[in-house]
């Protein structure tokens, strides 16, 4: 059951087009790769808590990457 407002027609058309594509093709369209400064500069990172991870993102990543909390 729909719980939100009406689905905008242009979005519905996009969802229907995607539904007609095989998953492998959706992958080709969906996954892109660009260099993300700082984030991509270490081979491994781990954080004890999500709060620690979120804080690290806010302290170290450029704002324009969008990882900061609103």
């Amino acid at each position: 059951m729909s719980t939100g407002p009406e689905i905008p027609p242009d979005w519905r058309a996009e969802f229907e087009a995607a539904a007609r594509r095989p998953l492998a093709q959706r992958f080709r369209y969906a996954f892109v790769r660009t260099y993300k400064p700082v984030l991509d500069d270490a081979r491994f990172r781990s954080f004890e808590s999500m709060e620690e991870y979120r804080q690290w993102c806010e302290d170290h990543l450029p704002d324009w990457l969008g990882y900061g909390r609103v």
Binding site: F15, A17, A30, F31, V32, R33, F47, E48, L65, R69
Partner: protein, 157 residues
């Protein structure tokens, strides 16, 4: 590093199945598997945090070609809340404690399986993005909610 490919997702699915790893695709990568048309850079999985699953996950990751040192393997086996892997054939984030989802078991019960890929239910993907409250998620939430509505209309059990 090239973009994440369908073949690599299949390798995750098959290697993790061999090792008995319990996990779910989550985040935008999960939504994309469900049919959400958008772009993303990273694959995220939500593994169950138990000692046996942690050991199976490390074994599966090593089989996939991730070059894990012993301390890194221990961090994964312990199930630290967030682990970012860029030391393998593709980038992968392990999210053991996604915001907005209380227990793995709850998400597992609600999971959706697409071509053998276990994926979080759209409601869980949305809940985690709402709880994370990041700028990059805010921008896509309305469209993701619309996709959830579309998906629910077409995937009723």
């Amino acid at each position: 590093m090239a973009a994440f490919e369908y073949r690599q997702a299949e390798e995750i699915r098959d290697a993790f199945a061999r090792h008995g790893v319990r996990y779910l695709f989550i985040g935008k990568s999960g939504a994309i598997i469900l049919g959400y048309p958008d772009t993303t850079q990273d694959a995220h999985i939500f593994p169950e945090r138990t000692p046996s699953n942690g050991r199976a996950l490390v074994a599966g990751l090593r089989e996939l070609g991730f070059d894990l040192t012993d301390p890194e393997a221990v961090a994964i086996e312990r199930g630290k809340d967030f682990v970012q892997l860029k030391n393998g054939p593709f980038d992968l984030d392990l999210v053991f404690a996604p915001d907005g989802i209380e227990r793995f078991e709850d998400a597992w019960r609600r999971r959706v399986v697409v071509e053998g890929f276990p994926v979080c239910h759209p409601d869980d993907i949305i809940a985690s993005k709402v709880a994370a409250n990041r700028a990059k998620d805010r921008e896509s939430l309305d469209r993701l909610r619309s996709f959830r509505d579309y998906w629910m209309q077409h995937h009723r059990a």
